[in-house]
Symmetry: C2
Subunit: 311 residues, 2 copies
């Protein structure tokens, strides 16, 4: 019983108002696996270069995650991303992207990775996501991330893979862009007509919303006095979300499971943004995760008070 | 036992992707009173011109709101605002603002309006808000709205009135601008050091957050498939919020009261944005309001599921 995640393993250079890192471990699959491993067994699939360090390989194996399908490409360089955040961290500029080993990546999954119960297709070229989806035919729950670039340049392939997953997780602007619907609820319901049964809108500092055919659920981001580096927050959220679902997959993907999954995703993502890169989640204290889930319950709950309304 | 609200009563010209209105009743005090009157007695204070119609005066009196202190200025023209919204309704451009009767407005409150238990100082020049605050010395709960303009050009007066209210309600960008703090929680805590015990961050389509010294609470906006006109949503939210607090003022402004107040503000604001101007709230069905409050309870609630976490 494992989660397989396919996506980028990267080195990031990041500048935020709180500091600069020239080269730190990052990538969607990395952040996802660190979070999901708090809840379930994870197998990572993705390429790295000769330059990828043993210490970083050890980080990928945090909490027992399996790296048999992390392919070290001889003579290749690891994917590299450089970005800079604005003062309120709500805007970021990409300064450099070097695909490197991702340029010729063709996902080859071992039988153990193909046998996953739960699959997360992190943000990569939709054609590659389709190849992986086909290799993991019997996965009971498949979640997908993507980005504006693929909506622009690979829309047909993106629509094809969306039609073959259970859950689409996108930023709310991306949901609008994908559907052409300015209203988030309408946009999500369009997508629910394309195949997925669950749409998660990632809303950055505002938290996230979950939309199904008959249900709506929203949680705020965990309130923090200081956010240091939002890089990887969405993938960390996805890791907690999908990890929780995987932990309960025997009982089905019910409404209570989806809602708790939102809380675990939110809680673990809050540790990610408190520190640079992977620092916040690699050693995360599980009692602290549980406390933040309990806090989120309290932050969103009210005891109804009866009041007379005037017609 | 009444709420007094001081603020603009206006004619608005609005263009949204869903239509155009050349001249419709609007203004902060108007929207506030329509919402608050679902929960409590309201007295409006503000000037209108000769051009203000009797039908619009009747709207101001919805659900018994008192207009004795709505001053009709002979020879004057009613405040006018014209704006246009972008396709996703998250941006708006002000095309025209005519202060008209507001240019020389000096709030003169009747004794009945001074005797309010609860006071809402809608967004007007902070010096005028101070004058009103002084006239309502014994109000048990005073809430304040403002805007970026006053942060820019009347900061000292704004800080003075903030120091004399219980609750500051601003958009999150305005909270950042006011404090110079990019982080919302830090910004709110700065303000909690200036006098208010409650800060409400209005976050538009993302809902709202409530921050006190020891507590945090957030609700999403009510999920709607179609938003027609967001004009007045913030003031409608404030009306439901402050109206609920006023309905419970005998028991004190407790955490459960504040949280239910957020739900009533959110629910009533959702009726505002479904139609142009005052159309959605003037005839609002109270059973439908209660239903949306119940829905909001459900949209934000999860039943915790025990799960083993891996260290």
């Amino acid at each position: 019983m494992t989660i397989t995640v396919v996506g980028s393993i990267a080195y990031d250079a990041v500048e935020t108002p709180f500091g600069v890192r020239e080269r730190m471990l990052g990538g969607a699959a990395t952040h996802f696996a660190l979070a999901a491993s708090v809840l379930h067994d994870v197998r990572l699939v993705g390429p790295v270069g000769d330059d990828f360090g043993d210490a970083d390989l050890a980080v990928l194996q945090t909490r027992g995650s399996n790296i048999d399908d992390v392919e070290r490409v001889a003579g290749g360089k690891t994917f590299f991303w450089k970005g800079k955040y604005g003062w309120d961290l709500n805007t970021r500029e990409t300064l450099d992207t070097q695909l490197n080993v991702f340029e010729h990546f063709a996902p080859k999954l071992s039988q153990a990775s193909r046998d996953c119960d739960v699959l997360f297709l992190a943000n990569i070229q939709p054609g590659l996501q389709l190849q992986v989806r086909e290799q993991c035919a019997q996965a009971q729950f498949v979640a997908l991330d993507s980005m504006n670039l693929w909506i622009d340049i690979a829309r047909d392939e993106l629509l094809e893979i969306i039609g073959r997953v259970d859950c689409l997780m996108l930023n709310d602007e991306e949901l609008r862009q994908l559907t052409g619907k300015p209203n988030l609820i309408s946009a999500a319901h369009d997508i629910l007509g394309w195949g997925p049964t669950v749409v998660v809108a990632k809303q950055g500092e505002y938290g996230s919303s979950l939309i199904t055919k008959d249900d709506f659920f929203a949680l705020p981001a965990y309130p923090l006095h200081e956010v240091i580096d939002p890089t990887g927050a969405g993938d960390t959220f996805a890791g907690g979300f999908v990890g929780f679902i995987a932990s309960q997959i025997g009982g089905g993907v019910t409404t209570p499971v989806l809602r708790n999954a939102m809380a675990y995703g939110t809680a673990i993502a809050s540790f990610n943004v408190e520190q640079f890169g992977t620092e916040g989640v690699v050693d995360v204290d599980v009692a602290a995760v549980r406390q933040r889930v309990d806090d989120l319950y309290a932050f969103a709950h009210f005891e109804p008070i009866d009041v007379a309304l005037r017609a």
